[in-house]
Amino acid sequence: MGFVGDTVESIRSMQIRQVLTQIISLGMIVTSALIIWKGLIVFTGSESPVVVVLSGSMEPGFKRGDILFLHMSKDPIRTGEIVVFNVDGREIPIVHRVIKVHERQDTAEVDILTKGDNNFGDDRLLYAHGQLWLQRHHIMGRAVGYLPYVGWVTIIMTEKPFIKYLLIGALGLLVITSKD
């Protein structure tokens, strides 16, 4: 018998106790993934500790599909740091480098200007209409670590949802049919 026949046979021959064990093991996989993610959020202080680079605006440093690890500490933001920021009215956060910082005497509030290494001009055109500076609350985190290519997995899965469902289905089947 082939793989499909084996699979059907194994599903048919399952006992109730075994089914429960497998549901629990599936639950363990899902919850441990969630624990790791939430743990990273607490540990790094950033609401999204890992981001995927989507555009080529930081080439050749970062290419599309690379991933960045973010950290958000109380330290003040300084020029040269690569920050991830959200602009009002834009859904996708942007990863660019800080090129100007002005920090107030009295309130220690900051005005920040960013630019992509590969872009000709600064980011004022990307900001909300009439916005000249980013403030602290726009910043989601600063990039501290880098891994190439890994982010392609998520890019492919968001652009081709079919592959995502195929992968989830295959993994689910694998967990259910695996015999200890």
Partner: protein, 168 residues
Amino acid sequence: MHSWTQRLMGAATTAAVLLAAACAAASALDAFHVPAVQAQAHVTKINRFHKQINGNDKVTLTFNVSANLESLFTWNTKQVFVFLTAEYENAKNSLNQVSLWDHIVPDKEHANLQLEVKSKYPLIDQGSSLRGKKVQLVLHWHVMPNAGAMIRNRMMLSEFKLPDAYSS
């Protein structure tokens, strides 16, 4: 006996763990690397110094930069992003950091810089406090790895004083 799926999963897990260990080891080794950067920068000419219509002072400069960044490169270095800022304090802001120029150094062979350049970005103040202001030039570098942790550092260079009057 193991099934082919188990073998596949095992191989994938081992590969992932080994790659992660290699990245961690590379970053750990980089932390022990002590670079010795030598650099100088001087403003040679103030091209234009005026007040914009919106009331902000604006300066365009020419300066020479000499920097030896060869010691920053290790086997895990993809590129070094080097840039020069003007830094000063005024009544409004405790810190103003304005990038004047930046450059990507792709490899060790191009890491010995001897340049005379115009400011790529003009020095624009938030307000008009630049007349007669002493400004500190600071060289920053950002070492970007093939994989792992990124390293930033900086070095104070010369100071220069802006003229007491606008040039136009």
